[in-house]
């Protein structure tokens, strides 16, 4: 390549600023509607974060209510439960990320391998069906399985293994990490899976043909072509989930365990703790404080993870 002197490059840059604008303006215009919507829907209400630091009096309005310092945050830390709820929230979300990614990739690979067209169609539709069931209804179904007196498990499955008495599922905290992870995977697997399938469908067939000519068997092809192509998507999804790591699906942790008190040691997460705490208090300052706390942690974590990813694979970083 011919050498380009520095001055030549600099000159080139200066003169094309106007051209740059001309070039990029149409793109910016296309991006505008979405950016405006985000501003309206997300950024304007963000001003309300100050509620977390105020003792709200709606007669004075948000801006004139008195400041309250950090007092609204106290209830999140002064309790003995603070450690438990934080631990539960983090561990569950980590488990969800790992289990859903692994199972999602596995299923996506299996589905794309299927050759029988109709079966493939069926499987592809089926994985999305759990989305349709709301958590409330799902909690009734889970109850149908786990109910002490009438449950499917106690009455049909366990006796097969010789256990006639049954387990009082809603009273024993130790089983619930597994139950909750299972239910979460059941419901949310389809999301990641479908994205992986879409990504895999975008892989150039020629690559597979070439590999096959080189003598690589199907499994080798999957390992060396399919999986690496998912790398970007997996990293992106994981990063996004890390940003939400302090949030939980309320329905999953409150409705599904039927709000049973004995299970709190393994089912109480930050969101349910806040809900239970504030249900009689009606204090918007405190709930805003909880939300801010969750956001901050997620924000810090995502910054850190993104930095790490940027070191390893710059193209996959989110920003």
């Amino acid at each position: 390549m011919p050498e380009v002197t520095r001055s030549q490059v600099t000159v080139k840059r200066k003169s094309s600023k106007a051209a740059k604008l001309k070039r990029w303006l149409p793109v910016y215009i296309m991006m505008a509607p979405a950016l405006v919507y985000l501003f309206i829907n997300n950024y304007i209400p963000m001003a309300g974060i100050v509620i977390a630091f105020k003792k709200m009096d709606y007669n004075s309005g948000i801006w004139k209510s008195p400041w309250y310092g950090l007092k609204n945050f106290e209830f999140l830390f002064s309790t003995q439960d603070a450690f438990i709820i934080t631990r539960n929230t983090l561990l569950y979300n980590l488990a969800f990320i790992i289990v859903n990614t692994v199972c999602g990739i596995l299923l996506a690979v299996l589905i794309t391998e299927i050759r029988h067209k109709r079966a493939k169609k069926l499987y592809q539709s089926i994985i999305l069906v759990p989305f349709l069931m709301s958590m409330v209804i799902l909690s009734y179904i889970v109850y149908a399985f786990l109910s002490g007196e009438n449950g499917f498990i106690n009455n049909v499955i366990l006796p097969l293994f010789g256990n006639e008495e049954g387990i009082n599922w809603y009273m024993e905290a130790k089983y619930w990490p597994f139950i909750i992870v299972f239910v979460n995977t059941w419901k949310n697997l389809g999301y990641g899976c479908l994205i992986y399938i879409a990504t895999m469908n975008g892989i150039d067939r020629a690559l597979y043909e070439a590999a096959s000519l080189d003598g690589a068997g199907r499994l080798k092809q999957i390992r060396h072509i399919t999986l690496p192509s998912l790398k970007g998507t997996v990293i992106t999804l994981t990063l996004l989930n890390i940003g939400r790591i302090f949030y939980s699906d309320f329905g999953l942790f409150y409705q599904v365990p039927q709000n049973s008190g004995q299970l709190l040691s393994t089912t109480n997460v930050i969101d349910t703790y806040v809900y239970r705490a504030l249900i009689t208090l009606g204090n918007t300052g405190m709930s805003a404080a909880a939300g801010l706390y969750q956001s901050l942690v997620g924000f810090v974590l995502i910054l850190i993870s993104n930095l790490l990813v940027r070191r390893l694979d710059p193209d996959s970083a989110i920003f």
């Binding site: 709606y58 039927q258 709000n259 004995q262």
Partner: protein, 519 residues
């Protein structure tokens, strides 16, 4: 890195500017509403000079005002028509019209909070017991004290002067109570036919100890039936609590307390004894294993033929009839304790005036008028005569469905008597005794206890309450359904409560109670 700093700065700038336009537009919309109703409040205030009797308003209200009346109940097909009819009565007197805004039981809490936070119209607000304090602290309601003194004649007459003031927290009166059963006690309801079959009568049930023999006999006759039912949040154990819970149950007043000492109910002998009983019942299979997770109500379970008995609080003059109606079986109720007039029952619902109300004086006078108006009470609760109901016994004031109309096809039948301002001046639905209101008067004449009328302000202890709520959720249902051994769990429960700050709450309540009693 530089990009990120710029990004953050830009975000902050955007948020601040957005906030600026956010707040100013809020003020705009409030004044929009004033303009829309064409009202000039200052004009009204100078005109006002009615004094005692709001009905013959000496003042003429020049500006029309639309009152938005929110209530908790099902919306009906003819709700708008009823609102029109009510408006017809009020228009000539006060120059107002009414808009009825039904909110369902599951949604009202969120909807009310949002509406009262914003600038939407909500003039008459239903404030449930327990929400009063937080609504006041959030600034959602207007203080009614001076209005009662000037205009509250019908209210004082119908409810009794001392009861009118019961919805108050530290001198802030947030609402006017409704006429309903104002007492609390502990009672039980049984399947009468089965009880008789087993050879017992209600007289045999004087206390919880008498239940063992009965349950044993009945279970032998009906092995598949559950003896004592409840559901999560409303466990059999919770039904045995006999105290003034002072709102949240963290520190209570015992009914026979004449001095006013706030105690921890969960440390009393009574609590330990009752929970032990629940544990024994559960061990013997008389309480279902799923009791703490069932969502179907007790009446629903009885209706399904599955339940023999359950606790009720309180027992009213017509508890037996009411339960028989809702379950379809012959049920009989019995009281296990003395009755006392309680804050929680009297202040169960207070009709308040929302902060956005632009003419609270007039709205209050309208409210007072309603307490004394049988026409409006009947319209609201039962509908239009001839269409939605007909007289079955005109003299006694008993009404029922017209020919061809029933509960499934009627276009209006609100039937929330305990919620409307004054149900005793309205008609009685057939099936209930003709002297129902006399029975209520007698019932409501029961003595109060020392803490009746006292509602405490929890804003100083919100951190503790937040933690205490979680502790309560963890232990109370399990204890109340006998699922755990109380001798082991009750000490743990109390330890957790004290760690969460129970003593602070008790001290706070004690201080506020003493201040209240000193008046």
């Amino acid at each position: 890195m530089k990009t990120k700093v710029i990004a953050l700065l830009l975000t902050v700038v955007m948020v601040m500017s957005a906030a600026a336009c956010g707040s100013s537009s809020k003020e705009e919309s409030a004044s929009d509403r004033t303009a829309a109703t064409g009202e000039d409040v200052k004009k009204e205030e100078s005109k006002e000079g009615t004094g005692s009797d709001g009905e013959e308003a000496a003042a003429t209200w020049e500006e029309h005002y639309k009152i938005v009346w929110g209530y908790i109940g099902n919306s009906q097909q003819d709700t708008e028509r009823i609102a029109e009819e009510i408006s017809k009565i009020l228009e000539p007197i006060y120059n107002v019209s009414i808009e009825l805004l039904p909110m369902s039981w599951g949604e009202f809490s969120d909807q009310l909070t949002l509406m009262l936070s914003g600038s939407e119209a909500m003039d008459i607000v239903p404030v449930l017991n327990g929400k009063g304090t937080s609504y006041i602290n959030n600034g959602y309601l207007k203080d009614l004290t001076e209005y009662i003194d000037r205009y509250g004649n019908h209210m004082k007459e119908q409810l009794g002067e001392e009861n009118v003031y019961v919805c108050s927290v530290e001198d802030f009166i947030y609402g006017i109570p409704t006429y309903k059963e104002w007492c609390s006690n502990v009672g039980m309801v049984f399947r009468k036919d089965i009880l008789t079959e087993a050879g017992f009568t209600v007289e045999d049930v004087a206390s919880i100890d008498d239940l063992d023999a009965i349950y044993e006999a009945v279970q032998a006759l009906y092995p598949d039936m559950t003896m004592l039912v409840g559901r999560k949040g409303d466990t059999p154990g919770a039904g045995t609590v006999y105290a003034d819970q002072l709102g949240d149950g963290f520190g209570v007043i015992l009914p026979d307390d004449t001095v006013g000492t706030v105690v921890n109910y969960y440390e009393t002998e009574e609590f330990a004894y009752n929970m032990q009983k629940m544990y024994e019942f559960a061990q013997k299979g008389w309480i279902s294993k799923d009791c703490a997770t069932i969502t179907d109500g007790r009446e629903a379970q009885a209706k399904a033929g599955n339940a023999f008995s359950y606790f009720v609080q309180p027992t009213k003059p017509d508890t037996s009839e009411a339960n028989s109606l809702s379950t379809g079986y012959d049920m009989i109720a019995v009281s296990l304790t003395e009755l006392f007039r309680s804050t929680s029952a009297t202040a169960w619902l207070g009709w308040g005036i929302g902060r956005n109300c632009e003419d609270p004086e007039r709205v209050f006078q309208v409210l007072d008028y309603m307490y004394g108006s049988p026409e409006i009470m009947n319209l609201l609760n039962w509908g239009i005569e001839g269409e939605h109901y007909v007289f079955k016994d005109e003299e006694a004031g008993i009404i029922g469905f017209p020919e061809g109309v029933d509960i499934n096809n009627t276009t209006y039948n609100l039937n929330i008597g305990y919620e409307i301002p004054n149900q005793k001046i309205a008609y009685i639905w057939e099936g209930r005794p003709a002297d129902l209101w006399e029975q209520y008067e007698e019932y409501n004449a029961t003595d109060p206890i020392i803490s009746t009328g006292f509602i405490y302000d929890d804003s100083n202890v919100s951190t503790e309450i937040a933690a205490l709520n979680n502790v309560k959720e963890q232990y109370l249902d399990a204890l109340g359904t006998g699922a755990v051994d109380p001798s082991v769990v009750i000490p743990k429960f109390n330890e957790a409560l004290y760690n969460a700050g129970l003593q602070t709450v008790i001290d706070e309540k004690q201080a506020q109670l003493e201040e209240y009693l000193a008046k």
